[in-house]
Subunit: 118 residues, 6 copies
């Protein structure tokens, strides 16, 4: 882990975006709100936020940081969803990996909910 002890604690923000496409059938199920057991977009959003907080436990050389803000938003596109995360901290190093991890995990959740697996 790079030594960031000499760097001043400053306000930092990172954003990451991803795009997930799915079949028209899967998209219809999500958009009709008929997925059994809750809204998959809300599940993806929460999973992404929680994953951002686990970044230092998942990415071996990432520093543990006291995040001051995490948001994950999903906006519909023609063939799926655009996922955008925004992460902020006041600390000695950036939160790019936290933003990226949030998008990755949120994408996994959406793709799962649009598939047929349990």
């Amino acid at each position: 882990m790079v030594d960031v002890g000499e760097k001043p604690a400053t306000r930092r923000e990172a954003r990451a975006t991803g795009e997930i496409t799915m079949s028209a059938a899967a998209l219809r199920v999500i958009r009709s709100g008929t997925v059994a057991k809750g809204d998959p977009l809300q599940t993806a959003r929460l999973a992404g936020i929680m994953a951002a907080k686990q970044t230092a436990a998942l990415i071996p050389l990432c520093h543990p940081l006291a995040l001051t803000h995490v948001s994950v938003d999903l906006t519909p596109t023609r063939r799926g969803y655009r996922i955008e995360s925004r992460v902020r901290t006041t600390g000695p190093t950036g939160v790019e990996m936290e933003a990226l991890t949030a998008v990755s995990v949120a994408s996994c959740v959406v793709s799962r909910r649009s598939s047929t697996c349990s």
Copy 2:
């Protein structure tokens, strides 16, 4: 997660309390110190402290915080125990949820030890 980046880092403390009641038989076992494998009150205390440190991983929209102090105390009541947690941090947001999580998990441990399940 609410953005707390603009809030100053100040000293904060939260307390939470809970009360657990149990059968006279269960209470006798605990108070006689004859629970196989150690004192359930000490187990509950430690589990509560460790749970407070896991709050941000359990409660989706809680901020990760560098806790400076956590204590959990169990005091006997007529029909069970009163559980009190005290959590402190120097940070931009409060530790109410950490205190509540500590009490919740400590309560689970005591109720478990006073039941017959394994």
Copy 3:
């Protein structure tokens, strides 16, 4: 941890319930669906499900179990919500603690969302 190695793996289910009451004002906010950033009941439901899976990491003497099902449901009462969890496994010991942990954490989430803390 009690030795459950001699016990056969059988299908097991546990349910736990809790009830949370809140101020009329807090209740109105939740029921009007105007909580900023998503439905607190859905958040509570997911947090409870994820917490059930963390039970062995939270409760010192609980066995790690391959849960086959977890559900958490919140139903409105006159002054708040009734929370019910249902957990199933095919294993050598019961899932009472998993059900209880799910309800405890879901309750924490609802109480948080109905409070004014961040």
Copy 4:
């Protein structure tokens, strides 16, 4: 979480693949083996394997499963790396999400090591 308690425990395998592209400069650094502090491909491989084991903690509605095998392999392409995971279990449900999570996290690690962030 879908109830999989009725499903028989069978041998299951899932594979997932991803592809990461990077600048020629970043690629040269990785391929020359001159990254300070160890081989980023090995780091990515291990992070992916460990992430597969955390899938049920990251993806809200995934079942905890006793994985019997996880591998993550990175093979060079013209402009980056192809990442392939393979996950196996003997259980009542598939390991598609575990395979996907492994690839996602391994990708994050490689992209991080090829960037300039700390």
Copy 5:
């Protein structure tokens, strides 16, 4: 992670032992039962048990296993404590690493309590 999918699930047990020595002064404090905030031996015992359950999250190539029993015992020696763990599972691979992890973490706790650090 080695593929253990072909191996039959059998009952397995592993034991590990460690020995920790400390200054006469530190030993006196522990044995007099005057450590502020609870018995360090009980804390070490519980931490060791909980660590055994985290083995697959700590040791990159260890398989997640449904442990059926974990115990950690500390017995006084002339200059400190002997720590012994015993771990059991019914599974396709052994629990040597789980037993070793339990002893390692329990040792860390005892050594911490016998030092002057916070």
Copy 6:
């Protein structure tokens, strides 16, 4: 958990060392670089770094700290390896336990890779 809220946040560093000995045969396998599936020393190094970040989750009374640096180095000795960790933070309490945890887990990994267990 001792209250460290009154202590100033200062730069702190801790080092810990351990030594692991193994059979000549095991040593030959590691040094020849013929261990199937990657370099065990690199695995040990990463596992130690990740474990340092998990210290507060493993050691009940340790404070969660924002580590600014963690390194783990393994150097060959005549009969095995010397493992040295170095951990830094800017915080109100020391990182001795983090350094010790890193060495302990790295040792477990090396000993595992030098044994015949899976």
